[in-house]
Symmetry: C3
Subunit: 129 residues, 3 copies
Amino acid sequence: MKELTVATERREQLVDITSQVDSEVGSSGVTEGTCHVYTPHTTCGVTVNEGADPAVQHDLLQHLDELVPRSGVWQHAEGNSDSHIKSVLVGPSVTVPVVGGRLRLGRWQAVFLCEFDGPRQRSVWVQVA
Amino acid sequence: MKELTVATERREQLVDITSQVDSEVGSSGVTEGTCHVYTPHTTCGVTVNEGADPAVQHDLLQHLDELVPRSGVWQHAEGNSDSHIKSVLVGPSVTVPVVGGRLRLGRWQAVFLCEFDGPRQRSVWVQVA
Amino acid sequence: MKELTVATERREQLVDITSQVDSEVGSSGVTEGTCHVYTPHTTCGVTVNEGADPAVQHDLLQHLDELVPRSGVWQHAEGNSDSHIKSVLVGPSVTVPVVGGRLRLGRWQAVFLCEFDGPRQRSVWVQVA
């Protein structure tokens, strides 16, 4: 298992980590299999979606804010219940195929760390098998 | 890795791909393990849920439309921001147990390709290990 | 594959199953790899999120109820369309790293069965590889 470190810059942000993950796939020596990309935090997530047009990332974050507003009648006292809920909706990990010793994504796909309670330094664990 | 092709017929549709996936499991020769079902697109997803009553699929698609309406103040100019967002909420893949050389689903479960921007021809990648 | 049985006590409830899952990891003999935690039902899900403060679980369940109300104009006649939809949003399984023969979770993470149509007896399938 390898650990990536990602420094986020805003409370909510999608960070494209495709090249770092792909680099770990390359150095793993695995030629065909899967790559598991997992974040050990509870207020961020990992997903795969369009990497070409940043407007998609903007629309996703904006709409998640509408679905799960930061302010609300929350029991959890840290002011980040929305971050926990968004993290559950997005999920803590993705599994991506590995072919020819590289991540095998679709043409428009990228792997994103989804920050919902930044800015922070985040860890991402990568396993290739 | 094997590739399935799924032709969808509407903008939003759930397509039951259980038998095609199970067929790939059968021909893989793997008797116990997992099957990873992944779509390389950014406006559709893959999930597991009830396959018996089509009304469940109807209610799911209708409610996702209410949560993420097609029309909105979107930055992304292609008119399918809702499709991207729904795809992130559903996720690009599922991992299903394999036992006795077959997919091991629950009694009411089926594997679905979730089309959110069709009709299109979609790819689904199946890996058994 | 090992099967856990979880008895839920309310219609909607998060049940922390970390110790049962970790116990299966320990008895599997696998020291480094992944653990796949899968539920074969269509009205509950599995997730990983904060296990320390029960208020997070409360806020998550309450907000999912707001996003997907139990009462609505549903075609599915069993009165649990909301449960199916929540299950799709949360997902039927998680994959968690295994290191040193134990589940390798983040400091605040726990594995939860997410009951959306209880109380019932639920199965959870655990695979370690």
